[in-house]
């Protein structure tokens, strides 16, 4: 949101915050800062967990369906086994993702009751659509997993596609809500509460489509490379055809997404420059407003010294990337009051990590596709496979980093320019306790899912009579 529209909201914000300050003063004794930090940490922890499961839920069904398609076309037993193996992975991740998502739908209310009270009527709609999409996904998954031999093959394959499509739709709907927090629209503030609510306008806020596309592509990229990396490892160990086929399917999907991602990412950055100049400034570590601003790569921004150390600068390039003009003016952090700055160091570093990984995966993806097309032997070479193995977690790290950019970059606001995170936190004391509970629970879930995946691979290998070669 530009500063102009922020001004328009100013009187209402002042009123709203006066009421909220009064409320929070009344609660002061029971709401120390630590509770805010604990609530934010808990949110970060559970969302950080859920985003990975959700991404797998979005992309994995398409990998499964691709393999299934090849099985239907060629009737190859190998692809049937691969499809079934992958579908088990989908089932496990879906189950854990579903329960962690349910927990999240309650957690929002537990931790941010003020936010939910305002946001519910405005932005509940994408959540209700998400509920519908999720429902369809659950039904389709049930039919897909247990439908072998009971459902006509064509319909069976399509239910797999429906699983994936509903996952993609869910992602779009959830991102609509998140994007609204960045681009609040579809209502007016009056006396500290929203009036003239238009849920459609809120749902289809300006950022929604781009941010959604960016996320969905990220999911395909991370899952494609993640799965390819795992199968590369298993392929190097076993040289089994199943892993080779799995590798190809997952790599192609990941690579295509990775090549498309920088383009979408660029559009997203341009939108951020328009609507959240402060966030862009933090992402880039730009303190002074300048014409022909340089692109700052890497480096450590210091909020107190107001400069970035150890960075590489490409002159005028930021102006070009953000506005398509080498001499365009880019707003710096110092144009805004410091108490509205997000933590610059975290946002800048997270952004660097995301972009760095994105570039690396796009390059590797292009190279790999070239290999597959022209030199299949090079694709299967130990060097390339080892590179893929090293890239296994990178896509997911990029997702976490990107999520960190958009969420931490919006701080101190929970609804950009309107409601501060500190005003939305639960008045309930003892958030630390729930944080610990959730942290223990989710850590445990992680460990057990990793353990299960390992066992699934062992199971698959014993089915295929594969014995791993000694390293």
């Amino acid at each position: 949101m530009g500063s102009k529209s922020a001004l328009r909201f100013e009187p209402a914000i002042i009123k709203c915050s006066r009421i909220l300050v009064k409320e929070s003063e009344a609660k002061q004794s029971s709401t120390p800062m630590d509770d805010l930090l604990a609530a934010r940490l808990q949110m970060a922890f559970t969302l950080g967990f859920h985003i990975i499961f959700a991404s797998i839920g979005i992309a994995m069904p398409f990998l499964m369906a691709a393999s299934h398609r090849i099985f239907l076309k060629r009737g190859s037993d190998l692809h049937l086994r691969l499809t079934k193996a992958w579908s088990k992975g989908v089932a496990i991740f879906f189950a854990v993702g579903a329960v962690s998502g349910t927990a999240l739908s309650f957690e929002l209310g537990l931790l941010w009751p003020e936010f939910m009270k305002y946001a519910g009527p405005i932005i509940g709609m994408p959540f209700s659509w998400e509920g519908a999409a999720f429902f369809l996904e659950a039904i389709a998954l049930g039919i897909y997993l247990y439908g072998w031999g009971r459902v006509p093959p064509k319909i069976h394959w399509w239910t797999g596609i429906v699983v994936g499509l509903s996952g993609v739709a869910s992602a779009f709907f959830v991102i609509c809500a998140n994007s609204w927090m960045n681009n609040p629209s579809g209502f007016d503030w009056n006396e500290g509460s929203p009036i003239n609510i238009d849920p459609w306008a809120a749902m289809f806020n300006e950022g929604a489509f781009l941010q959604g596309l960016h996320m969905v592509l990220a999911a395909f990229e991370a899952v494609g490379f993640g799965v390819a990396g795992l199968h590369a490892l298993l392929y190097l160990r076993t040289k089994h055809d199943l892993h080779r086929e799995a590798l190809k399917i997952s790599f192609v999907i990941g690579a295509v997404a990775a090549i498309a991602q920088p383009i979408v990412g660029d559009f997203t950055a341009k939108m951020t420059a328009q609507r959240q100049p402060l966030k862009l400034a933090a992402m880039e570590g730009l303190f002074e407003t300048q014409r022909g601003a340089p692109l700052v790569i890497g480096g450590l921004p210091s909020q107190t010294e107001r400069r970035v150390d150890y960075a590489i600068e490409i002159p005028k390039f930021l102006s070009f990337l953000a506005y398509g003009d080498f001499n365009a003016e880019v707003k710096g952090l110092l144009d805004f009051p410091e108490d509205e700055w997000p933590p610059v160091l975290i946002v800048h570093l997270a952004f660097q990590i995301m972009v760095g990984i994105g570039m690396l995966l796009a390059a590797l993806g292009a190279l790999g596709l070239l290999f597959l097309w022209r030199a299949p032997a090079a694709f299967l070479s130990k060097t390339f496979q080892s590179a893929l193995i090293l890239c296994t977690p990178l896509g997911f790290i990029a997702i976490e980093a990107g999520w960190c950019v958009t969420e931490v970059g919006r701080q101190p606001w929970i609804i950009y320019g309107l409601l501060k995170t500190s005003e939305a936190v639960t008045p309930r004391p003892g958030v630390l306790f729930t944080l610990i509970t959730y942290a223990v629970l989710y850590t445990f879930l992680w460990l057990i899912v990793i353990f299960l995946m390992k066992r699934q691979v062992d199971l698959l290998h014993s089915d295929l009579n594969i014995r791993e070669r000694p390293k």
Partner: protein
């Protein structure tokens, strides 16, 4: 408009209880099964539930979404005042959701299914209990929006005999549903008769906890008896439910058709739930006499008109998409429970 949204909420809660509740109940039943034959019955339960498991679970998500979007004050009141039982329920749901799936898929060389089963059983009982507690707290009226102490704000609303017995009642209700449904899933007569026995036992548990519920309500200063006789719909629903227990009992004792038992059990549960709805309506959360108002009504808590319209549109469109799919799912897996399910 608001009435239509309330109807969708009522329906999704009903379906959650009828389908999801039976899944909870199955976990509770497993706890009471004989050690020696438990494994084989667990396999039967897994097989019966696995295809519809996720779909059954989503009804809750739907209900939460409706409350969150349509009745935000209700949502925030529940999630704040009932923070502790809601969190307990969540932990239970996460635990059983994972354990059930893991038990189904993790058939590795070394067997951990005992651990998964244990988690599944305990968390099923635990979650059902807390569902009852949360429902009870919405009726009891101990929720105070401006409570000043931790104890008054977060403990008083639900830590009392009435909610405790609501929890137990809920467990008995779910277990009864599960046992009756499972009779039809079982193939051999022995297993059928075991589930028949458990259905009868769950019925006895219901008959015991029901009156205790009324007694504890009086103990907790909730004039349930007065409310009950003052509300003809409520009176009708509970009386009908109680009367239907007789044919269910006869059908179970005489080894009648599983389908008829299922219809009877589902009707009883539906009536009980409708009775509760009638008792509450139009309140979502009841306050006791000391409060300024009767409680939070759906109508005062309702979101603005435009939001309700959008929500209703989403619900109607979603139903058009979901119900045919759901019907297909049940047709494929539940119409003829005779064929072997795939892997």
């Amino acid at each position: 408009m608001t009435e239509a949204v309330i109807a969708f909420l009522a329906a999704s809660l009903l379906f959650y209880v009828l389908f999801g509740g039976a899944d909870f109940g199955a976990g509770i039943l497993e706890l009471f099964l004989d050690e020696s034959t438990r494994r084989e019955k667990q396999r039967l339960i897994s097989k019966a539930m696995a295809p519809v498991w996720e779909a059954n679970h989503v009804w809750l998500v739907l209900a939460v979404v409706i409350v969150f979007m349509g009745f935000p004050t209700v949502y925030t009141t529940i999630t704040t005042a009932l923070h502790i039982p809601v969190m307990a329920l969540l932990i239970g749901i996460v635990g059983r959701g994972c354990a059930f799936t893991f038990r189904h898929y993790d058939a590795g060389p070394t067997d951990y299914s005992r651990v998964y089963s244990k988690v599944f059983m305990v968390s099923s009982l635990w979650s059902s209990f807390f569902i009852g507690i949360i429902a009870g707290a919405c009726s009891l009226g101990r929720i105070e929006n401006d409570a000043s102490t931790f104890y008054a704000a977060y403990i008083v609303p639900w830590a009392n005999p009435f909610c405790f017995f609501m929890g137990l009642f809920c467990c008995a209700l779910f277990a009864m549903l599960a046992a009756v449904y499972l009779i039809g899933e079982a193939k051999d007569p022995d297993t059928k008769s075991v589930f028949r026995l458990y259905a009868l036992r769950a019925n006895i548990a219901l008959i015991i906890t029901g009156p205790l519920l009324f007694m504890s309500a009086e103990l907790d200063n909730l004039p349930l008896v007065t409310l009950f006789f003052g509300n003809s719909w409520c009176l009708f629903c509970f009386t009908a439910a109680t009367i239907l227990l007789v044919p269910l009992w006869i059908s179970l004792r005489r080894s009648g058709s599983p389908l008829i038992s299922r219809i009877l059990a589902a009707s009883i549960v539906t009536l009980v739930l409708f009775g509760w709805y009638a008792l509450q309506y139009p309140l979502a959360i009841r306050f006791n006499e000391s409060a300024r108002t009767d409680g939070i009504s759906f109508f005062t808590a309702a979101a603005p008109e435009a939001t309700m319209r959008a929500l209703l549109a989403a619900l109607v469109a979603g139903s058009l998409l979901i119900f045919p799919a759901l019907a297909y799912l049940f047709k494929v897996f539940k119409w003829e429970t005779l064929n072997e399910v795939g892997d």
